[in-house]
């Protein structure tokens, strides 16, 4: 009994430490009172003068620079859009960064502002992704998609009773979803067991899938819940928009798979982003971006990862015959191996650049300086690249397109 009490005391102290230390970290980041700030500002000026006199000048990107005093460091500044504690928003944003495995320092400031400072060498693709992920409030609903016989033929018609139209993210379309009368049939992110959400490569044709486990309370009584939900098509609604139409498949372990709608399912990045949103608690208030300072495009931009991905497209996605993505200006063709998995992606766009900043439109001279073997004939680009996994196709004296290779398998 005493052991249990000791265990309970430890747990209460543990929880208290998490709470108190997080509060104190935010309080340290918050500016001090106005009077004290005046004194501190004077002290800071005096210290700066002293430093200028005593310390030799540092290189512009010297090792002593911190996100606070480096005017070029990548940074996002948010402001809460309605009532909500900036400190709590900061804690939630910090949690999202942790879940995404992205380094960043989150501080709450005056007027509901929350600043996220990224390391100087953060990849542009990571910065852009986090910008999108952090901006979301993350209110998640999982609602059954209406059966076809309920959907009105006129797409402009009002929703039948018990249903509502929900816009689809990234398109002008909308879908009819059921709004169950009973809370037992409605699921939100609170019903998920957040520690058991992840992604995995699905079976052939499924693309990447998101694994979700419901809380034990929502799975009660055992068996009945699984039977009710299995095989149903659900819309995953995030902040009022459908981000995925998902089929939920029951599993003996109590895990459920959410697979993307459409023929090819989710790609890995989309599945990971969805898993992140489902895993993180929603923000207590909406936020908006006040300012955004992305990382320098060169040399930190890593939109092309050899052997893995070009921008949002990655190896391992199910093959496609289409050569466009629906995204203006982005043309893609896919090389497909015998197992119907993409092993080569060729992108024609001026948006994607390599880790070294070489992209479509770069001069061939640039390319050879970075990748080519010395003295190589520019026309022998196929076999002469020193940088494994990437191949450039010249167009005149410029790069017409580049390819990302899976090891040495593709030619």
């Amino acid at each position: 009994m005493i052991d249990l009490e000791r265990k309970a005391e430890d747990r209460l102290i543990d929880l208290g430490l998490r709470e108190v230390l997080a509060e104190e970290e935010i309080a340290v980041a918050d500016p001090p009172s106005r009077r004290l700030r005046g004194v501190l500002e004077l002290a800071a000026v005096a210290a700066a003068v002293l430093l200028l006199l005593l310390v030799p000048p540092l290189a512009p990107r010297g090792g002593l620079a911190t996100p606070d005093d480096d005017p070029d460091a990548p940074r996002l500044v948010f402001r809460r859009g309605d009532d909500g504690e900036a400190g709590t928003v900061a804690t939630m944003l910090r949690r999202r960064l942790q879940l995404a495995g992205v380094e960043g320092r989150v501080t709450a400031g005056e007027e509901g502002r929350v600043t996220v400072d990224f390391p100087e060498d953060v990849a542009r693709v990571t910065f852009d992704r986090m910008k999108e992920v952090l901006l979301r409030r993350g209110m998640v609903e999982m609602l059954p998609v209406a059966p076809a016989d309920v959907v009105p033929e006129d797409p402009g018609a009002a929703a039948p009773p018990g249903y509502r139209w929900v816009p689809e993210a990234g398109s002008k379309g909308r879908r009819l979803v059921e709004v169950p009368a009973s809370s037992k049939e409605r699921f939100t992110s609170r019903d998920f067991n957040r520690s058991r959400i992840g992604v995995e490569k699905g079976a052939a044709g499924l693309g990447w899938v998101v694994m979700v486990a419901m809380n034990r309370e929502r799975r009660s009584p055992p068996g009945e819940f699984e039977a009710r939900i299995a095989g149903s098509v659900y819309a995953i609604v995030v902040d009022g928009e459908i981000v995925a139409a998902a089929r939920v498949v029951d599993r003996p372990s109590g895990l459920f798979l959410i697979r993307g709608g459409g023929r090819d399912g989710f790609d890995r990045a989309t599945a990971e982003d969805l898993a992140l949103v489902l895993s993180a608690p929603p923000l207590p208030a909406r936020v908006e971006i006040v300012s955004s300072r992305p990382p320098d495009p060169v040399p930190s931009e890593r939109l092309v990862v050899p052997g893995e991905r070009v921008g949002p497209y990655q190896l391992g996605q199910p093959g496609k015959n289409a050569d466009t993505t629906g995204e203006p200006g982005v043309m893609i063709d896919w090389a497909i191996a015998g197992n119907a998995v993409v092993i080569n992606i060729r992108v024609t766009t001026d948006r994607y650049r390599t880790a070294e900043g070489i992209g479509v439109g770069s001069t061939v001279a640039d390319v050879y300086r970075a990748f080519g073997a010395p003295g190589t004939d520019p026309d022998e680009h196929d076999g002469a690249l020193a940088y494994p996994g990437i191949m450039f196709v010249p167009d005149g004296d410029r790069v017409g397109s580049f390819r990302v290779h899976y090891g040495t398998e593709e030619r």
Binding site: L4, A8, E9, I13, D14, G16, V20, L21, A22
Partner: protein, 168 residues
């Protein structure tokens, strides 16, 4: 006694007892618990609507019954443990968190302020930055065991400090 009037021949019962106990040991029972559950399964067999059709079906029936009793026992144990835990947690809550539910937090803040800077930093790494013991150990050049021990010592110190401050 006429053998046809009993639900299972005595020789069969004797023969089945050993594999049933073996099965229960496989499930994780200690010897005494396995004997008890086997006994309960035989009692259920004798009390229930069971028709003897040979040793194999009888063993299957006994196994299923014993398995259910084993699971029921686990559930009962878990319930008892959970009750003991919630009772203990309630006592600690009343004593430390108090009626406000947060009486211990000011005391904890005060105790944290008295900690050496290195201990404070260790707690921040663990509780704010969410770093694992292994990651802290790698960064500080210590062993994971050493980090674990130090975290325990700091936490013990904080716990005693909080209790001291809350003592009437």
């Amino acid at each position: 006694m006429d053998e046809s009037t009993i639900r299972i021949p005595e020789r069969a019962a004797r023969a089945l007892r050993r594999p049933l106990v073996r099965y229960l040991r496989l499930l994780g029972c200690d010897a005494a618990r396995a004997e008890d559950l086997a006994q309960e399964a035989f009692v259920a067999l004798l009390d229930g609507p069971f028709e003897y059709r040979g040793e194999a079906p009888a063993l299957a029936w006994l196994r299923e019954t014993a398995r259910r009793k084993f699971l029921a026992g686990l559930r009962e144990d878990a319930r008892r443990r959970a009750e003991a835990w919630t009772d203990a947690a309630d006592r600690v809550w009343d004593r430390l968190a108090g009626e406000s539910g947060g009486d211990h937090l000011p005391a904890l803040r005060a105790c944290l302020a008295d900690l050496p800077a290195a201990d404070r930093r260790l707690l921040e790494e663990k509780y704010v930055e969410g770093r694992s013991r292994a990651a802290i150990a790698a960064a500080t050049g210590k062993t994971e065991k050493a980090v674990k021990g130090r975290l325990e010592r700091v936490r013990n110190r904080l716990r005693e400090c909080v209790k001291r401050r809350l003592r009437p």
